[in-house]
């Protein structure tokens, strides 16, 4: 049994961090909250959770001085998992409030069009476009838990990053993977056994081993 993976959970005052921390502990990681750049020291991976609008989230990240360290972290190819808003922030901008986001992936976050209900709340099928170790042990169309109204829409340049898609009114990108960069629109920490499995897979990938 290897030592627990040290994981910094970026805390910018958005959302329920308790459940992501509990879930990371459950899969054998050692999480802590990073509110300032120096809190990233010693982490083998970072998790950026969050719900709500992109604009206020970016402003809080800016105020905490975390925007550049996160950009550098990703540019250095270090393990990143964005959850919900943490995935949307990877794109260039959000239509929700016109805010500029991290711009790691080309594309924008847009409101789900033609959705019968919004927010999109509940369990929905995550349909894999390709095989990836992030989804080891999880069915190819597993149900995972969503809570959002916006979703990132990659430009063709970022097509290769698309790992899975989900349908609610329209088909949207529900998971991306690009080397050590991962993002999921659903909430693995609230998606039962399959969600925990995905987090275990991320921790294993970040730690350079296989989940068991």
């Amino acid at each position: 049994m290897s030592a627990p993976l040290p994981v910094a959970v970026v805390d910018y005052g958005a959302g329920n961090l308790v459940s992501i921390e509990q879930a990371l502990v459950h899969v054998g990681a050692r999480p802590w909250r990073a509110r300032r750049p120096e809190h990233l020291a010693g982490a083998a991976a970072i998790v950026v959770p969050g719900v709500g609008a992109a604009g206020p989230a970016m402003r809080r990240l800016e105020r905490s001085g975390l925007v550049d360290p996160i950009r550098r972290w990703i540019a250095d190819g270090r393990p990143y998992l964005g959850i919900c808003l943490g995935l949307q922030l990877l794109f260039e901008a959000s239509d929700e409030d016109g805010s500029t986001t991290l711009g790691v992936l080309s594309g924008r976050s847009r409101r789900l069009a033609g959705a019968p209900t919004l927010p999109h709340i509940g369990w929905n099928q995550v349909v894999r476009r390709r095989r990836h170790r992030l989804f080891d042990g999880i069915a190819a169309d597993a149900d995972l838990y969503f809570v959002h109204s916006y979703a990132g829409r990659p430009e063709p340049a970022a097509e290769d990053a698309i790992l899975a898609e989900t349908e609610h009114g329209e088909t949207f990108v529900s998971a991306v993977a690009l080397a050590s960069l991962f993002g999921v629109q659903f909430h693995p920490e609230r998606s039962g056994v399959d969600g925990l499995r995905l987090l275990a897979n991320f921790v294993a990938l970040a730690g350079g081993r296989r989940a068991d």
């Binding site: 959302g15 459940s19 509990q22 879930a23 509940g122 929905n124 149900d143 039962g192």
Partner: protein, 258 residues
């Protein structure tokens, strides 16, 4: 395809889950985190805790329960009962809840919905509406009235109009309980659900009156509900979550297999 959710509701009083018609015939049904973990394992799509005592002492106990549950049940958790302010909502979210349901306090102060939605996002704000059929229609021509304090106090306010206002103010979901049906095992008030679900775009959770699997199917099919909530039929083990989901699947509804 988005699944229809089945949600067990745990009424909590002084740290224990109680069962029975809401507020009367309370029978101890166990330790909340224990029961929550069992329901999660049996395929519950979400959990709702309602603090029916909602006393100041009860609040600390409730936060402890939420925290212990969040460690064991990795599915969404909504907590309601007595939340009257943004700081109170923050405390419940910090303990590990994903959403907070506002009821009496929101009726008294509708701005609370707006403030909570601005602070935490609409997805974290559930507005719970307890409604009762009026013998005569309200002046607006609507047949249901909002009642508060666990159904004991009429407000004279039209339920559908309040539902629309709550959504405009930022509610991300509505938990609609028929006080007439609650605890009677005579089925959900499907007409009430339809009246509300046809007017709002956010998900509607049906509550009050579930007796058997057919009621869950009717709440979705005829009532337009996105999720169905029940307490006593699960606590009494009259039906399991799996049985309810099997009936919903047999009726052609999209559910998450346990």
């Amino acid at each position: 395809m988005l699944r229809r959710r089945v949600i067990p509701c745990l009424d909590v009083d002084r740290g224990r889950v109680v069962k029975g018609t809401r507020f009367v015939d309370l029978v101890d049904a166990g330790d909340p985190p224990e029961l929550a973990a069992r329901y999660a394992a049996e395929g519950a799509d979400e959990l709702v805790f309602l603090d029916i005592g909602a006393s100041p002492e009860g609040r600390a106990t409730l936060l402890d329960i939420v925290e212990r549950t969040a460690r064991r049940a990795f599915i969404p958790l909504t907590v309601g009962g007595g939340v009257r302010s943004v700081p109170e909502m923050r405390a419940v979210l910090r303990a590990g809840a994903d959403k907070v349901s506002l009821n009496t306090a929101a009726v008294a102060d509708p701005g609370l919905v707006t403030r909570c939605a601005r602070s935490f996002g609409s997805q974290a704000v559930v507005v719970a509406i307890d409604a009762r059929r009026r013998p005569a229609e309200l002046p607006s021509g609507e047949g249901w009235e909002v009642v508060v304090r666990g159904g004991r106090e009429p407000t004279g306010r039209a339920a559908v109009a309040w539902a629309v206002e709550a959504v405009e103010r930022g509610a991300g979901e509505l938990l609609v309980t028929s006080i007439d049906r609650d605890g009677t095992r005579s089925g959900y008030d499907v007409a009430l659900l339809r009246a509300i679900s046809s007017r709002v775009s956010v998900p509607v959770i049906a509550s009050g009156g579930a007796a058997g699997p057919n009621d869950f199917v009717a709440a979705v099919r005829e009532g337009g509900a996105d999720a169905v909530l029940a307490a006593s039929i699960f606590h009494r083990r009259t039906y399991s979550i799996a049985q309810v989901k099997a009936a919903m699947a047999a009726a052609g509804l999209s559910i998450r297999a346990a």
